[in-house]
Amino acid sequence: MNPVIVPQNEKLNLIILDDQKDNKIQIQAEDDSGIKLFILNSSAPSITARLKNNVELEINFASLYQKNSKHEIKVTCLGNNSKTIINTVFLTKTNEQQDLKISNIFEGQNNTGSITINGILEDQTRCSLEGRVVIKNTAIKTESNLHEKILLLGEKSVCNAKPILQIDTDDVKANHSASTGRISQEDLFYMRSRGLSEQEAEKLIKQGLLLAPFSHLDKNHKFFRQLETRIL
């Protein structure tokens, strides 16, 4: 598939649901353009975006119960003053394997970037996550953050998380956080004290984790509705 070029001042809104074509998605964004991608259960092995100046990019990506799924998302801010948001969630069961590599590379100045990865591993599933923020020495005034939160709910689930920062200049703000573990017993206790059963409480916490990155979306948005229906 040829790269999609988003012309100057244009907006691209793309919703991909249950696409099994194994196509790579390549986007080139010209100055002052805007891109919103909503991808649910796509087998696209990679999504790459190269941004010029003043681009607003939002990638909303969800992978639910996909067998041995491998995805790579790579966003490069070549120009200045762009804003990128990458929200990804995944949910696995039985013995599925989830491999996810997300990188945000900053070459221009005054860009901001945010990566969120939330996931739940059930049964005997495994995941390998690599979140990478690269700030080149030309990319002054960059602000970037990366957050990973993984719940291990299966008895034999395994998670390998690598939140990486590579910073080549000083005038930047970069941070990352990663947490891996089970559902907080305190949260469960609190919810049960409010009259919920353990199962209901667990379900709510799982939903919260998977829907939180998309809370800015309209609840009637096709992507949001589909996601909500499938994780309920």
Binding site: K162, I167, D170, D171, V172, K173, N175, H176, T180, G181
Partner: protein
Amino acid sequence: MQTFADLNREIFNQSNRSDYLKKYKKGLSEKLVIQISKSKNEPEWMLKHRLKSLEAFYEIKLPDWGPKIDLDFEEITYYANATDQKGKFDSWEDIPEDIKNTFEKLGIPAAEKKMLAGVGSQYESETVYHNLKKEWEELGVVFEDMDVALQKHEDLVKQYFMTCVPIRDHKLSALHGAVWSGGTFLYVPDNVSIKQPLQAYFRMNAPGLGQFEHTIIILEKNSHAHYIEGCSAPKYGKEALHAGCVEIFVEEDAHLRYSSVENWSKDTYNLNTKRALVGKNATMEWVGGNMGSGVTMLYPCSILKDEGARCDHLGIAFANAGQVQDTGAKVIHTAPHTSSKIITKNLSKDGGKSIYRGLVHVLPQAHDCTSNINCDALILDPDSTSDTFPDIKCENTTSEITHEATVGKVNEENIFYLMSRGIEEEEAKSMIINGFIEPIIKALPLEYAIEMNRLIELEMENSIG
């Protein structure tokens, strides 16, 4: 009297005569390894161990990750004794003047009198001084130089030697196994708590030298100790190599704090291996400051092998012009209810490169573990860099691992505020940096905290305009 607060760059950079180096050939060979072993009158098993290590060194490749190791192993002098004496001297007075003066300038004898339970001092490949206060000796504490320990406590050394860090761990551990010399052996029996710290200081003097000291620390049940290690070398513009090895065994309910201030010269490759096996309900604390070396690759490792074991890793790395500080921590949780905490503070300045590289691995059987990792970095100018490479592997669903990292520069508003209160810009920056590294500094005894602060100040000199 020389105190740590009086430290200046001159002290570390001063070198003594090194004419004794003529007696030793550069390069590595089986003959050299046999010579080292024979000169130390070692038992047969140790010679076999050395030769096996040498074989492994030739087979194993250098790591394909991390900073470039541009080192010609044939240009290194692997063993040198600066004195004609075999083994240590009995008192500071007997040590040749120039060597004694070096340690005096570094403040070691003064610190021994004032606050230490025991001191070991190594110069080049051999220990020149080793002493433990009588009261601890009477309680069964053994604090010896490693070569002496091998002669006097052979069975104990054989039981532990390179069991925690095996020969084939990596290329440098194999090299270490072949040419190790000197180092410290500390054994603390059951229920003994050594109140004052013990210190070892390693000094390299001659150009192009390699230092390969081996340290074994064994803390038996319910014992406590604080071991401090310091290192330095003058600068020559010729590569030197430090590939020491530290093996620590902390048994049930024991507590060890291991502090080190590494200040090798900026032409030294510091490729050190440090590892601890931590037993039931025992605590291992690593406190480290990496200021010197051209290239450092150092990742102290704790293996939490029994239930309730715990470790803390606190580290500062300062990468100045031309330096690569690739440091971090490794923790392997192999038992249930174990916990770990990693806090690192990296600073880079004048084009220096600081890297945090860490691993936390929770194995399937290690249920109900917790691990917190916090690594912060300050970049002090546009030419410097900072990377963070954590690796978090969780194979257990009842364990919790959290990781946080921030990278940025010194907050200009804070500098402005301090300057508006009449503080000079350089001092203001220094104060902010002191605050940044405070969680690590406060884990050191006062004298060493002063040393570390002074070293940071030295690194910060001329940092404004």
